[in-house]
C-alpha cells in the first residue's frame, strides 16, 4: 500500500490533522459519540486524513463505495441515519461522490460517521461544512469517504461516472433502490461487518504494539540513565559538536569515526588539488588544514587517554591490520618516513640529508621510548611477582598485597605519559617533515601517507570479509 499514512494518535480525540492509513479497513477510533453500529459496523471512523495517493484511495474507496451503496439501500441505513444526527445522509447524498475525490471535496456530502463505520477512508476535505455528525464539527480537515458516499447505484463504484457522482448528491431517497437485489445488500452488509471486525482487530493489534513499544522505550531510557550515571558516555543523536562531551572508549570511537570522515574528505580535496596542478598558495592552505586535522586527533587521543589509556594503547579503535603494526598507540614515524623517501623524488641534497636525519632522530626517539616501556613492564612484573609468602601471617599478606597493588597502580599511571610522548613524537616528526619539504612535496607526502593508511584499512576489511573454509 503505497499511501500508508499511519495514524499514530489512536486516542479518541481524532485529531483532525491525523493521517490515517491508507488501508481502508484500518480506522482508528474516532470520537464518535452517537454513531453506533446498529449494523454491526463499528463506529470507528473517519479521522480526517490526507490521501496521498489517489489511486489507493480509489481502490480502497471502491470497496467502501460498494458497501456504502448497499448500505444506503438498506432501510436500516436510514434508521442509522436518523440515529446519527447527520444531515440527510442518504445514500443519495453519497452517491458516487466517493469515487471522485474532487467531487467529494466539493460536495456537501454529508458523511455519517456511523456509516463510515469501519471503512472510513477519509478524504481530505478542507472545507467540510456538512461534516457528518460524528461530532466531527471540530475537525477541520475532515473528509470521509464513507461507504455512504458511494453511489447507490453501482456495485463497482470506483468507476462511477461523473454525472452519476454529481447527480444524486442530494435528497434522493434510497427507497428506489430498495427493489434491487436485497441479496446483494445483505452480502454487502456481511462484508461490511467482516471488514469492520478486521479493522477493529487490526486496531487492537496496533495499539498493543504501541503500548509495548512505549514500555520498551521507558525501559531503554532508564538503562540509558543508569549507564550515564556510571560514567559511560552515550552520545546523543544529532550531536554535532566536535568537543568531547564525555569520556571513555565509546566517546573516543565516535570522535574518531567523525575525524576519519573529515580526514577522508580532506584527502580527496588534497588529491584533487594535486592532480589539477593547483598553485602553491592553495596547496599550502590545504596542507595546513591537513596538519590541523592531525593536531586534532592527537588532542582527542590525549583526552581519551586520560579517561581510558588502555583503550588507546590497545588500538581497538583501529582496524585489525593497523592495530597489528601499531607502536605505542599509533603509527611509527620512522616507518612512515622510510615509505615516503622513494615517493618524494626529486629531492635536493639538503632535503635528502634532512629527511635522513629526521628518520634517524625519530628512530632514536622511538627506541628510547620503547626501552622506557620495557622498563615499565619489567618494573611492573617485579612488583606483581613479589609475592613471597609472608611468614608473619595472613594480615601481613594482605598488607603486602595491597602495597603491591598500590605500587603497581602508580606504575600503570605512567602509561599515559608514554602515550603522550609517542604522540608528541609523531606530531613533531610530521611537522619537521613539512619544514624540510616544499609545499608541493609536502602535499604529495601527506597524500601518500593518507593513501597508505586507507589502504591498510581497506586491507583489514578485505581480510575480515575473506571467505573461510
Amino acid at each position: 500500500m503505497g499511501s500508508r499514512a499511519r495514524t499514530v494518535n489512536v486516542s479518541s480525540t481524532g485529531d483532525s490533522n491525523n493521517v490515517v492509513n491508507g488501508m481502508p479497513s484500518y480506522a482508528p477510533p474516532p470520537p464518535m459519540p452517537s454513531s453506533s453500529s446498529s449494523m454491526g459496523i463499528d463506529a470507528t471512523n473517519v479521522l480526517p486524513s490526507r490521501i496521498s495517493e489517489f489511486g489507493n484511495l480509489e481502490q480502497s474507496l471502491g470497496f467502501r463505495v460498494e458497501d456504502a451503496i448497499n448500505l444506503s439501500r438498506n432501510p436500516l441505513f436510514n434508521q442509522l441515519q436518523l440515529k446519527s444526527n447527520s444531515q440527510a445522509l442518504g445514500a443519495d447524498v453519497q452517491f458516487g461522490a466517493l469515487s471522485k475525490m474532487q467531487s467529494i471535496a466539493n460536495s456537501d456530502i454529508n458523511i455519517s460517521a456511523a456509516i463510515a463505520g469501519s471503512q472510513a477512508l477519509s478524504l481530505q476535505k478542507d472545507s467540510q461544512p456538512n461534516l457528518a455528525s460524528t461530532s466531527a464539527g471540530h475537525r477541520e480537515n475532515w473528509g470521509e469517504s464513507n461507504m455512504a458516499d458511494a453511489s447507490p447505484r453501482t456495485d463497482t463504484s470506483t468507476d462511477d461516472t461523473e454525472d452519476k457522482n454529481q447527480m444524486p448528491e442530494r435528497g434522493e431517497s434510497s427507497e428506489r433502490s430498495k427493489d434491487k437485489a436485497d441479496q446483494k445488500t445483505l452480502r454487502r452488509l456481511a462484508q461490511n461487518r467482516e471488514a469492520a471486525r478486521k479493522s477493529r482487530l487490526r486496531k487492537k493489534a496496533y495499539v498493543q504494539q504501541l503500548e509495548s513499544s512505549r514500555l520498551k522505550l521507558t525501559q531503554l531510557e532508564q538503562e540509558l540513565q543508569r549507564a550515564r550515571q556510571q560514567g559511560i558516555f552515550i552520545s546523543s543523536s544529532g550531536d554535532q559538536t566536535h568537543s568531547m562531551s564525555g569520556n571513555g572508549a565509546m566517546a573516543f570511537d565516535v570522535e574518531y569515526a567523525r575525524w576519519l570522515e573529515e580526514h577522508n574528505r580532506q584527502t580527496n580535496e588534497l588529491r584533487a588539488a594535486i592532480n589539477s596542478h593547483a598553485g602553491d598558495i592553495e596547496l599550502r592552505t590545504i596542507v595546513d588544514n591537513f596538519m590541523t586535522q592531525f593536531d586534532d586527533i592527537f588532542r582527542l587521543k590525549g583526552i581519551a587517554a586520560k579517561a581510558d589509556v588502555f583503550h588507546i594503547l590497545s588500538g581497538m579503535w583501529k582496524t585489525p591490520a593497523e592495530r597489528c603494526f601499531m607502536w605505542i598507540g599509533g603509527f611509527r614515524s620512522s616507518e612512515l618516513l622510510k615509505l615516503l623517501v622513494n615517493q618524494l623524488e626529486p629531492l635536493t641534497e639538503q632535503q635528502l640529508m634532512g629527511i635522513y636525519n629526521l628518520q634517524q632522530s625519530s628512530q632514536q626517539a622511538e627506541d628510547a621510548l620503547s626501552q622506557g616501556m620495557d622498563a615499565l613492564q619489567q618494573s611492573l612484573a617485579e612488583t606483581l611477582a613479589n609475592g613471597a609468602p609472608n611468614p608473619s601471617g595472613s594480615s601481613g599478606n594482605v598488607a603486602n598485597y595491597m602495597g603491591q597493588m598500590a605500587m603497581a597502580m602508580g606504575k600503570l599511571g605512567t602509561l599515559e605519559g608514554f602515550l603522550r610522548q609517542a604522540d608528541n613524537l609523531r606530531q613533531q616528526t610530521l611537522q619537521q617533515m613539512l619544514r624540510i619539504l616544499t609545499t608541493r612535496q609536502s602535499a604529495r607526502a601527506l597524500l601518500a601517507i593518507s593513501d597508505y593508511f586507507s589502504r591498510l584499512r581497506a586491507l583489514s576489511s578485505l581480510w575480515l570479509a575473506r571467505p573461510r573454509e
Binding site: Q364, A365, D367, A368, G372, A375, R420, L425, Q432
Partner: protein
C-alpha cells in the same frame, strides 16, 4: 635550587631522575644513544631530593622528572627533549656544550 644549579653545572649533560620513573629511563637512554654521557641524579636517593624536586618544578618542569640540563642551562622535560631531538636542535645543543663531538 642551589644544589640543582650546582649539580647541573658540573657536567655538560645532566639529568635529574627518580629511580622509579621509566620515562626518565627513556630520556637517559636517548642521551646514551646520542653518545652523550649524562650525569644522572636520582632525586629519591638524594637527601635533598624533595627540595630539589620543588626547585625543578619552579623552573617550569612538569612533571618534575626527567629534568634535563645541557651546558648548565635548563632544557626541559621529556616533551621538550623529544621535540628538540626531532628537529635536530638537541644534537646541536649537545655539541655546543661539548657533550658530544659529532
Amino acid at each position: 635550587m642551589d644544589r640543582v644549579k650546582d649539580l647541573a653545572s658540573k657536567k655538560a649533560a645532566v639529568i635529574f631522575t627518580k629511580s622509579s620513573c621509566c620515562m626518565c629511563h627513556s630520556i637517559t637512554q636517548l642521551f646514551y644513544e646520542l653518545g652523550a654521557s649524562p650525569a644522572v641524579h636520582e632525586l629519591d636517593n638524594d637527601p635533598y631530593g624533595r627540595q630539589m624536586e620543588w626547585a625543578l618544578r619552579s623552573l617550569g618542569c612538569n612533571p618534575s622528572v626527567p629534568a634535563v640540563f645541557i651546558g648548565g642551562k635548563f632544557v626541559g622535560s621529556s616533551k621538550d627533549v623529544i621535540s628538540l631531538h626531532v628537529d635536530g636542535s638537541l644534537k646541536q645543543l649537545l655539541m655546543d656544550a661539548k657533550a658530544i663531538w659529532f
